[in-house]
């Protein structure tokens, strides 16, 4: 299965891209955590954000254990600083 990863702010800067196509093994229960693990293999510079990153699936906040499906958009968000 294939998901599209979106990266923002520092994450995008570190990865030097805001859009990453990600191919995952077609397992039954792929999660956001699996997508992150695949991402940091491709972009090891993102590893330090492991403990502070938030995630969203199809523009809804998600948890590490949230299931992802083929075609989903998975976003990783560094700590927010709006306002």
């Amino acid at each position: 299965m294939r998901v599209r990863i979106k990266l923002f702010a520092q994450l995008r800067d570190r990865a030097a891209t805001g859009d990453v196509a990600c191919e995952l093994p077609a397992v039954d229960a792929a999660t956001v955590a699996d997508v992150w693990d695949a991402l940091i293999v491709m972009h090891p510079a993102l590893t330090p954000f492991q403990s502070s990153v938030s995630s969203a699936v199809n523009a809804e906040y998600a948890k590490r254990q949230t299931r992802v499906h083929d075609g989903d958009e998975v976003a990783f968000l560094p700590p927010v600083s709006g306002g």
Binding site: A9, D13, A56, Y61, P78, G83
Partner: protein, 164 residues
């Protein structure tokens, strides 16, 4: 004017205030109080001279986060109408990055909702501030976004002075 927006355009706090007041005036007890908050770009931050800021947002999720904040506020203070606009892109010193307006029959709710909203924006709305200062640039450190964190929500409520 939409109640919630992420926009590169210059923000108008009075337009948003008029909008929430008009909506509140058609509700139950009417509109007796309008509060607003505007966050402006300061020339100095952490001892550095700021040249300008750039804000980036994950717009569809930010709009959903605004809706969540509105739902939380309605649960805590029934009848208050809330509007929030956050700007993106390059902002000069003195410009507003965010404007919030709240309208209610009575002032306690209008103040509480407005303050609650900005506290929650800083906790859960996916927007990022990039500071360009004399001699460099840096992403500003913020809060780990967790919309289901009950402790953060309670903290925002406490700052909104929920008991007054």
């Amino acid at each position: 004017m939409p109640l919630f927006a992420i926009t590169p355009a210059v923000l108008s706090v009075d337009g948003l205030a008029a909008e929430v007041a008009a909506l509140a005036s058609r509700a139950g007890e009417g509109c007796g109080a309008v509060t607003t908050f505007a966050g402006l770009v300061r020339a100095h931050h952490q001892g550095r001279r700021v040249r300008y800021l750039e804000y980036e947002a994950y717009e569809p999720l930010a709009l959903k986060a605004f809706a969540q904040i509105q739902a939380e506020a309605s649960e805590a203070w029934a009848g208050a109408v809330l509007g929030m606009h956050h700007r993106t892109g390059r902002l000069e010193i003195g410009e507003a990055s965010i404007v919030i307006a709240a309208a209610s029959a009575h002032r306690a709710e209008a103040f509480a909702v407005c303050r609650y909203a900005i506290e929650r924006v800083k906790q859960i709305v996916p927007v990022w501030k990039h500071e360009y200062f004399d001699g460099g640039e840096a992403w500003v450190e913020g809060a780990i976004a967790d919309p289901s964190d009950a402790h953060a929500r309670e903290q925002a409520k406490a700052r909104a002075c929920a008991s007054a």
